[in-house]
């Protein structure tokens, strides 16, 4: 089987991929992160194995771009950087009100990553653990804690 046109992949996943980036690095840097991910994916695409899980592959690239962003902004003393206590990098006021993914943006970094990988990338816990660099149990715990953190936000 041939690889589908990259256009199909982008059309199918672009909304979730964009949301994934914005939820993790905030509305100011989300579009850049999305752009980096799309360009990197297109560069690597022809060499991809035909039986690769395309959605998982795409979100893995986006996740790497998120990590690159966190690393770069951790080295820079920027006002929106990740706080030492694990508080969100994104000021809540800059995201649209009433938006569920804006509430995700207010979660601590690990929970935010776990929620995005679970519900946008649709990855199993074992793969979330690999990408977050933690145990599978910790991945489950971060998803559960993230959901618990979101409940009061969405029922407000």
């Amino acid at each position: 089987m041939d690889l589908p046109p990259f256009q199909r992949l982008l059309d199918e996943h672009r909304a979730d991929l964009y949301r994934f980036c914005v939820a993790q690095v905030g509305p100011d840097h989300g579009p850049d992160c999305f752009q980096e991910a799309v360009v990197a994916a297109l560069r690597a695409y022809p060499g991809l194995r035909r039986d690769e899980n395309l959605r998982g592959w795409l979100f893995t690239i986006a996740h790497h771009k998120v990590l690159d962003h966190h690393r770069t902004s951790a080295r820079r003393p920027v006002p929106t950087g990740v706080q030492p206590d694990g508080q969100p990098a994104v000021p809540a006021a800059t995201l649209p009100d009433g938006d569920l993914w804006a509430a995700v943006g207010r979660l601590p970094t690990m929970q935010r990553g776990a929620i995005a990988l679970r519900y946008l990338a649709d990855l199993p816990y074992a793969e979330i653990a690999v990408r977050l660099g933690c145990s599978e149990a910790a991945a489950r715990q971060n998803v559960r804690a993230g959901l618990a953190g979101l409940r009061p936000e969405v029922s407000r």
Binding site: D2, A15, Y45
Partner: protein, 206 residues
């Protein structure tokens, strides 16, 4: 360790859609950058024409595909036979769009844009190249004559196949190929489209 039950919250996380205009802007920015970095191997666009929407696709070598309507299969064909790096990048088709507009407006009789012939091979390609080079605007040719021009007078059936699989209709003028005696024969874009093109060129006696 148990999996948390699926809740309304989880369902909402899976479906909450972002603003489509914002996503579209981000996609255009990504495509523009990918194109600047030479990563868009096949650029495509749709354009309006008197025959309805046309799909145009191009590579670095030139125009590679003209399709009637927005056929889903066209992008798959390009991915399989040219490169899977296929993206909508209309600015790359500006020249093709301009020449086609001029042709349909009656201001152009020959196309000058570079063509990428790679979707056609062997005898079919020979036939299409002869047709492109030797049957100008306003003229017609029979399948049999075109077979002779292509060096194989007995191959009029193969000429028919070459016309039916022409990747560059309108530009490579398979509409100028008629049955012996002048009957229209077939056309990938439909016989109305063939009549329209022949009338535009003054080649059809009504």
């Amino acid at each position: 360790m148990t999996t948390p039950p699926t809740t309304d919250l989880e369902a909402a996380l899976r479906t909450a859609p972002p603003d489509p205009a914002e996503v579209a802007r981000a996609v255009w920015a990504a495509v523009e950058r990918a194109d600047a970095e030479g990563l868009v191997d096949v650029a495509w666009a749709t354009v309006d024409s008197p025959l309805g929407p046309l799909l145009l696709a191009g590579t670095d070598a030139g125009l590679v595909k003209v399709g009637f309507g927005v056929e889903d299969a066209a992008l798959e064909e390009l991915a399989a036979h040219v490169s899977p790096r296929v993206l909508e990048a209309p600015q790359r088709l500006d020249e093709a769009r301009r020449e086609l507009d001029e042709y349909f407006a009656g201001r152009r009789q020959a196309f000058e844009l570079p063509l990428d012939w790679r979707l056609s091979r062997g005898f079919r390609r020979t036939v299409l190249e002869r047709l492109y080079a030797e049957v100008p605007f306003g003229r017609t040719v029979s399948y049999l004559e075109l077979a002779s021009k292509s060096g194989n007078p007995k191959a009029s059936r193969a000429v028919g196949t070459a016309m039916a699989t022409n990747p560059l209709p309108i530009v490579v003028p398979c509409h100028r190929v008629l049955r012996t005696g002048g009957a229209l024969g077939g056309y990938g874009g439909g016989l109305d489209a063939k009549r329209h093109l022949l009338a535009l060129e003054g080649a059809l006696l009504v």
